[in-house]
């Protein structure tokens, strides 16, 4: 999970996986993904409990649905 100067740089990287080409996104889009409450709430005193609450489970579900999966063969 890395940053690159541009999409062309990401595609030229030795570790580039064509099946995950759709995971190349502007940093602002990834920043939105990592603004999910799962990340925002890390500073709370009851964070682990919160992750298992209804709100935490809902946040995790939304997060998972937003993460890219490998393309089919």
């Amino acid at each position: 999970m890395n940053l690159f100067r541009s999409e062309a740089h990401a595609r030229r990287w030795d570790g580039f996986n064509p099946k995950m080409a759709h995971a190349i996104k502007p940093i602002a889009e990834w920043a939105d993904t990592f603004a999910n409450p799962f990340f925002r709430e890390r500073g709370r005193a009851d964070y682990i409990s919160w992750t298992r609450s209804d709100d935490g489970v809902a946040a995790f579900r939304a997060l998972r649905s937003s993460l890219p999966l490998p393309a089919d063969d």
Partner: protein
């Protein structure tokens, strides 16, 4: 009590203690220090440390009880150098988690500097709470070559 791990309240206290120290000092506590802070036996603190990194998801340095990664931070240097209102010392676990560091420093400016893995040229991202203040160059992208969190069976965001 969790199924076969530490009581939930202890997980909360342990997570809070570790995260507080990482945020304040860019270092993680040794489990003996964690034991003292939480007033629990040393062995329980060692086990708690391992349980918490498996949840968060972070990891220990291989074959040790020493924190290596506690997201969004890395305790070992990565290419993602983080400064907070101009003060350095932190590293992000990865380029994407770097964008989540800001939530632990409300009201402060987070600057991430990293070399591009393709060309080695430096990139800079500045964030302040909700706002991405600056990116240099403007075309910076994030990329993961695999499923974030690993396989579905072991996905750590739980």
């Amino acid at each position: 009590m969790t199924d076969d791990g530490a009581p939930l309240q202890l997980l909360d206290r342990g997570y809070r203690a570790i995260m507080r120290q990482v945020v304040e000092t860019a270092t993680a506590p040794h489990f003996t220090a964690l034991a003292a802070e939480l007033a629990i036996p040393v062995e329980q603190a060692r086990q708690l440390s391992h349980e918490l990194v498996s949840i968060t998801p972070g990891w220990m340095a291989p074959e040790t009880d020493l924190f290596a990664s506690f997201p969004p931070f890395n305790l070992q240097p990565t290419q993602y150098r983080v400064t907070v209102d101009g003060v350095g010392g932190w590293y992000a676990q990865c380029g994407l988690e770097a964008t989540a560091v800001r939530w632990l420093f409300p009201g402060k400016t987070i600057r991430v500097e990293a070399p591009c893995l393709c060309c080695g040229e430096v990139m800079v991202v500045e964030m302040h709470d909700e706002e991405i203040v600056a990116t240099e160059p403007a075309e910076i992208v994030g990329y993961t070559s695999d499923v974030i969190g690993g396989s579905a069976e072991s996905r750590p965001f739980r």
